[in-house]
C-alpha cells in the first residue's frame, strides 16, 4: 500500500482551471496537434499518441483507483497482436481491427482484474506482473499467430471504413489523432460520470464506501477492464500505425515504461500521462540517434522526477497555479 499511497494524485480531478480557461487550453492543444505533422515526423507523432493514450488508460487505474498494475503490457501487447492479426489475416478494416484489439484487452482485463483485485498494493502489482509474464510466454510460444521473435510484420494499414486509404502517413496520423482524442474523451467522461464519482469515493475512503453499501471490488474490476480495453485500443492503433506487433509490446519492460510515463507526466491528472507518454517516446526517439545510452538517460530523468517533482510535470503545474490564486 505504501507504494500507492506515496504517489497519490495531487490535483483535483477537474483540474485547477475554470471552464472557459480549460476550453481555450484544450483548443490550443488540439490546434497544435493538428499542425504537428507539418513540423515533426508523423511516424514519431503517431507512436507518441499511441503511448500517450496507453499512459492515460493506465492512469485510470493508478491515478483514479489507486491500484498499481505492473502488467499492462499484457493488454497493450496482446491487443497489438490481435489487431495486427485481424487486419493482416482476416482483412478487417483498421477501425474494426482496433476495436477488436480493445475488446480483447477489455476481456483480458476483466479476467485478470477479477483475480488480482483480491489483493492490494504490492501484492496486486505482483499478481498482475506474474500474469503478464504468462502472456509474454504465450506470445513467444504461439509463433504461428504472433510471429515469435520476428513479431507480426507487415500489418496493412488498410482503408478506413473500407473507403479511405491510410497508406499516406499524414492521413494515418489524423486517424491516430482521432482515436487518441476519442479515447481521451472517454477517459474524461469515465472520471466525470456517476460511476467516476463512486470511484473517487472509494479511493478517498474505502471502508466508508463499503459501509455505504458499495461493492467496491466490482467497481475496481470494472475500472481495470475499462483501463485494459483502452490500453488495447492504444496497442491496436500502434500495431496498425507502425505496421508491426512485436514481443517488445508485451514484455514487462513495457509495463515499467508506462508507469514511468504516468509518473513523469503527473499521476491522477487527466493530461499528465499523455504529456509523460509523448515525452518518453520523444526522448527515446531523440536519444536513439544521439549516441547517448538511452536507458541511462531515461533512468536519470526518472530519478530526478521522483526526487524533485513527485507530482509529475502537470501535477506540479497544477499546484503552482493553484497556489498563485
Amino acid at each position: 500500500m505504501a507504494v500507492v499511497k506515496s504517489i497519490r494524485p495531487s490535483g483535483t480531478v477537474s483540474g485547477r482551471f475554470t471552464g472557459s480557461t480549460r476550453l481555450i487550453i484544450g483548443a490550443v492543444l488540439i490546434v497544435a496537434l493538428l499542425v504537428a505533422p507539418f513540423v515533426a515526423y508523423p511516424g514519431f507523432l503517431m507512436k507518441a499518441l499511441c503511448f500517450a493514450l496507453f499512459a492515460c488508460a493506465f492512469n485510470l487505474m493508478l491515478g483514479f483507483v489507486g491500484l498499481l498494475s505492473f502488467g499492462h503490457a499484457a493488454f497493450f501487447g496482446t491487443a497489438a497482436y490481435a489487431s495486427g492479426y485481424a487486419a493482416k489475416v482476416w482483412g478487417l478494416t483498421p477501425e474494426l481491427a482496433i476495436l477488436f484489439g480493445g475488446l480483447i484487452g477489455g476481456l483480458m482485463g476483466l479476467v485478470i482484474g477479477a483475480i488480482a483485485i483480491r489483493r492490494q498494493g504490492i501484492y496486486f502489482a505482483m499478481i498482475t506482473l506474474a500474469i503478464s509474464q504468462m502472456v509474454f510466454f504465450f506470445a513467444i510460444q504461439a509463433g504461428s499467430i504472433t510471429g515469435g521473435e520476428d513479431g507480426l510484420q507487415g500489418v496493412p494499414r488498410g482503408r478506413l471504413f473500407g473507403l479511405i486509404s491510410l497508406e499516406d502517413s499524414l492521413t494515418m496520423y489524423y486517424f491516430v489523432l482521432a482515436v487518441f482524442l476519442i479515447g481521451f474523451a472517454l477517459i474524461w467522461r469515465i472520471v466525470n460520470s456517476p460511476y467516476g464519482a463512486v470511484l473517487k469515493a472509494i479511493r478517498e475512503n474505502e471502508p466508508r464506501a463499503i459501509s455505504l453499501g458499495y461493492q467496491v471490488n466490482r467497481f475496481k474490476v470494472m475500472a481495470f477492464a475499462l483501463s485494459a480495453a483502452l490500453t488495447g485500443v492504444a496497442g491496436g492503433t500502434k500495431a496498425i500505425a507502425v505496421q508491426l506487433a512485436s514481443l517488445t509490446d508485451v514484455q514487462w519492460q513495457m509495463s515499467g515504461e508506462v508507469i514511468l510515463m504516468t509518473l513523469l507526466g503527473g499521476v491522477g491528472t487527466l493530461v499528465g500521462p499523455a504529456v509523460g507518454g509523448a515525452l518518453v517516446v520523444g526522448l527515446e526517439n531523440y536519444l536513439a540517434t544521439s549516441g547517448l545510452p538511452v536507458t541511462m538517460v531515461i533512468g536519470v530523468v526518472f530519478v530526478v522526477c521522483v526526487l524533485v517533482f513527485r507530482r509529475g510535470i502537470v501535477g506540479e503545474i497544477n499546484v503552482f497555479l493553484g497556489r498563485r490564486r
Binding site: 483535483t12 469515465i190 456517476p194 460511476y195 478517498e204 459501509s211 455505504l212 461493492q215 475499462l226
Partner: protein, 250 residues
C-alpha cells in the same frame, strides 16, 4: 414483525487465541436507542465490527430482522439497512460536503455503473443532499471540502451521509468522541431528531450522552456482557460500579 431488530447469540471473536468478544447475547429492540458501554478494551468496537461484518465472528450468529446475517458481506448489510459510522471520522476528505452526501444517495441509484453518462445526471440528488446537510446544521458549509471542516462538523457530516441511506438500524461508533462541549450538545440534539422511525445502537464513552439518550444500556467488560438495562438500574449495579465507574462513585 418481531420486536427485535438485531439479535446476537453466542457472538464470539478470537484473535490468535485472545478472546476479544465472548458469548455476547445482545437484543436490540425496534425503535430504541441502545448504548454499548464499557472500559477501554472491553470489546465494544469489535462487537461493532462483528455486527457490521467488517469482522467475521469466530462463533455465534447475528440476526437482523430475523434474517441470519452472520455470513453477509459489509456492503450487503448496508443495502439491507444496517449502516454504521466509524470511530475515526469517516468522510471523503477531498469531496465537498454536498458530494459526500450525494455519494451516499447515489448508492440507491441503478446508474452507479454508468461510466458513459455525465456527472450532471446526479444533479437531481442535490436538493435531497442539501436538505440532509441542512438538517445536521451544516447548511453554510455545503460547498466546503470535507477536510477543511472542524472535527465536530465532520462527525455531523458523517451522520448526514449515513442518514442519506435512510437506515433502519444506525450504528454510531462514539459519535461525540473528541468533541468540545457545544458540539456534544449539538450531536445529542441531532440524534434525538433522527431517531424517529429507526433504531440506533451506539458505542459511547460520554456518560451524560448515554444517560440522556439511551433506553437500554449494555455494559461490556473483557468481551462479555456485565449488565444490561435502563441507565437507572445499570448505574446502580454494584458490579458495574466496581468495573466501570468505580473511581467516579468512590
Amino acid at each position: 414483525m418481531s420486536d427485535l431488530v438485531l439479535e446476537t447469540k453466542g457472538l464470539t471473536k478470537e484473535f490468535r487465541g485472545f478472546v476479544a468478544v465472548k458469548d455476547v447475547n445482545l437484543k436490540v429492540r425496534r425503535g430504541s436507542i441502545h448504548a454499548l458501554i464499557g472500559p477501554n478494551g472491553a470489546g465494544k468496537t469489535t462487537v461493532f465490527n462483528l455486527l457490521t461484518k467488517f469482522l467475521q465472528p469466530t462463533a455465534g450468529t447475528v440476526r437482523f430482522n430475523e434474517h441470519d446475517i452472520s455470513q453477509a458481506k459489509p456492503a450487503d448489510i448496508a443495502r439491507m439497512g444496517v449502516v454504521r459510522s466509524f470511530q475515526i471520522s469517516a468522510v471523503f476528505p477531498h469531496l465537498t460536503v454536498l458530494e459526500n452526501v450525494r455519494v451516499a444517495l447515489q448508492a440507491r441509484s441503478p446508474k452507479v455503473f454508468h461510466f458513459w453518462r455525465s456527472i450532471r445526471e446526479l444533479d437531481h440528488l442535490d436538493a435531497k443532499a442539501a436538505q440532509l446537510v441542512e438538517d445536521v446544521g451544516l447548511g453554510p458549509f455545503l460547498h466546503t471540502t470535507a477536510v477543511e471542516l472542524s472535527y465536530g462538523r465532520k462527525r455531523a457530516l458523517e451522520i448526514a451521509t449515513t442518514l442519506a441511506l435512510d437506515p433502519e438500524l444506525m450504528l454510531l461508533d462514539e459519535p461525540t468522541q473528541g468533541m468540545g462541549h457545544e458540539d456534544v450538545g449539538r450531536i445529542i440534539e441531532l440524534i434525538r431528531r433522527i431517531r424517529k422511525g429507526r433504531t440506533i445502537l451506539m458505542v459511547e464513552h460520554n456518560m451524560s450522552v448515554v444517560s440522556g439518550l439511551s433506553d437500554t444500556i449494555t455494559v461490556l467488560q473483557r468481551g462479555q456482557i456485565l449488565a444490561e438495562g435502563p441507565y437507572e438500574t445499570v448505574s446502580k449495579n454494584p458490579a458495574v460500579i466496581e468495573a466501570y465507574m468505580g473511581t467516579e462513585h468512590g
